[in-house]
């Protein structure tokens, strides 16, 4: 059976189970809330999928989210204080958040291509540095004072659950999916993750491709930072802490192999729904919130375990 269809069935089963335990789960209010959680996670998980398919990993997505949220909050506060309109402040916020994320991604690219660090270490360094930098900039307190009405703008729902940021995120994820599955860029990403030697032999400039991938990963994380800002109305250094775990989990649950060269973005999208759905569901059925990390960890273990088993059965054929 098609893996994506199987994942979709898991998602449906999850909805059914939570609804049976507490019927409140099946409501547009809960779905709207899950979507709001899903937005930043799916952006980072999309970034993560690109990176993992290329044979790497990006631990800095959560810290990049935090840093770009903080820096764009500071920029928006300045612009708002100078009397500019909320719209121009939010536009600036998007640009600054994207640029900060991009910068984090480029640093990853330099560390991997020039300093020759393995992706795990390179992104571990930028993760620490980005988190530290956002604490330095804010002293640990959330940065508010941005454009008035940003929360109202971003939380106004259409059809009961879709907000403007969610629609934008959906468009970005669909575009990323087309980019990964229908273009030369995507094909080369799989080739590099599958056999870097073969990719080089085919004339692919692996270094420049990796720059693009990590830059894109940073950019998407930066946009996730803006998403979170719009939702909370402030930028906080801690907003991305631990989020890389959810992003990696969504990609892995979606069938992306940490060995590289394997993964579908549709799977990641469903994986992100499973993660955020489970977290909301647990709260609704009365499980203490602190159990969340444990549950995500367990989901990763189950997903990777299942992949390993299905790989073995493939080989046994």
């Amino acid at each position: 059976m098609d893996q994506t269809a199987l994942l979709f069935l898991v998602l449906v089963a999850m909805v059914v189970v939570f609804t049976v335990i507490n019927p409140i789960f099946f409501s547009s209010a809960v779905f709207a809330n899950i979507l709001q959680d899903w937005g930043p996670i799916v952006l980072m998980a999309t970034a993560q999928t690109l990176v993992i398919v290329s044979g790497g990993i990006d631990l800095s997505v959560g810290a990049a989210l935090g840093l770009s949220g903080v820096v764009s909050a500071l920029a928006m506060r300045e612009l708002t204080a100078s009397g500019q309109s909320a719209w121009s402040a939010m536009l600036l916020g998007v640009l600054v958040a994207g640029a900060v994320g991009l910068a984090v991604g480029l640093v990853n690219g330099v560390l991997i291509n020039r300093v020759k660090l393995v992706p795990f270490i390179a992104t571990l360094c930028t993760m620490g540095a980005a988190l530290g930098l956002s604490l330095v900039l804010t002293g640990g307190t959330p940065v508010a004072g941005g454009p008035a009405g940003s929360i109202q703008f971003s939380s106004k729902t259409y059809l009961g659950m879709f907000t403007v940021p969610i629609i934008v995120v959906t468009v970005i994820v669909v575009a990323a999916g087309l980019y990964l599955h229908k273009t030369r860029f995507g094909r080369w990403t799989y080739a590099i993750g599958s056999n870097q030697f073969a990719a080089r032999g085919a004339g692919i400039n692996v270094e420049s491709h990796l720059y693009k991938i990590y830059a894109l990963s940073g950019l998407l994380s930066g946009l996730a930072g803006m998403f979170v800002y719009l939702r909370l109305g402030s930028g906080s250094a801690s907003s991305g802490v631990g989020q890389e775990l959810s992003a990696i989990a969504a990609a892995v649950i979606g069938g992306t192999s940490l060995l590289g060269g394997v993964g579908r973005l549709a799977g990641t999208v469903i994986g992100a729904f499973i993660i955020t759905g489970v977290l909301s569901g647990l709260i609704i059925i009365g499980v203490q919130a602190n159990w969340q990390r444990v549950v995500i960890a367990a989901l990763i273990a189950v997903a990777v375990g299942a992949q390993g088993l299905s790989n073995e059965s493939l080989r046994a054929k």
Binding site: L178, R187, S194, A198, G203
Partner: protein, 261 residues
Amino acid sequence: MTAVPMLELRGVDKSFGPVHVLSSVDFTARAGEVTALVGDNGAGKTTLVKCIGGIHPVDAGELIFQGTARSVRGPRDAALLGVEIVYQDLALADNLDIVENMFLGREVLTRLRTLDENSMEKLAEQALASLSVRTVRSVRQHVVSLSGGQRQTVAIAKSVLWKSKVVILDEPTAALGVAQTEQVLDLVRRLAGQGVAVILVSHNMNDVMKVADSIGVLFLGRMAAQVRRKDVTQTQVVELITAGRSGELGLSPAESSGAAV
């Protein structure tokens, strides 16, 4: 034998630091022929192949393609001249299918700059058909599921697809069983039959004597001799490989003692 050779090497030298790996090597490969390149471990076969492929630019000497001396400073130069190397460890990506591998780095795009899967699939099937390949079930199979012989087939078909002029096969049968070796050697002959200059690097004397038209023997970085297959016996070739000379053939006694290296 009257035509200009597809590829001719004259006086090629290559050193890595103080180590002189190739010294004034001459070598010729003709279109439509299989030219074997043999020699003991460390004789310089791999280095010579990498010089032709542009991976190691030569220190001195000429690379002459179809009568014109060319400078090959990198793999891209070699690729532009139509040189394709099929490595022993097969540069195929396991997680991609046959079509994806054959077109890797040279994908056919639609007008919208997306991948033109249908065209690529058709061209891949044509390339396989032109070599009379019947061992591959579907061109959409992932390479990981292929046998060693099938992988070699895909790698060779790739060179047909790209209309390569010089195809270098590095130990294509090293990891294969008897039946698969037969199939790959057939394929090598058909590839040459399409007008390609095939260079076969091999340790296997049976393979060489079976498919080669011409045999170049490297001995300690020197071309001991390049001979027509029909003019020599297997014993003579083995002597050339191990001693650098065989009767009248090969290096002079002084050279073959290794003193010059």
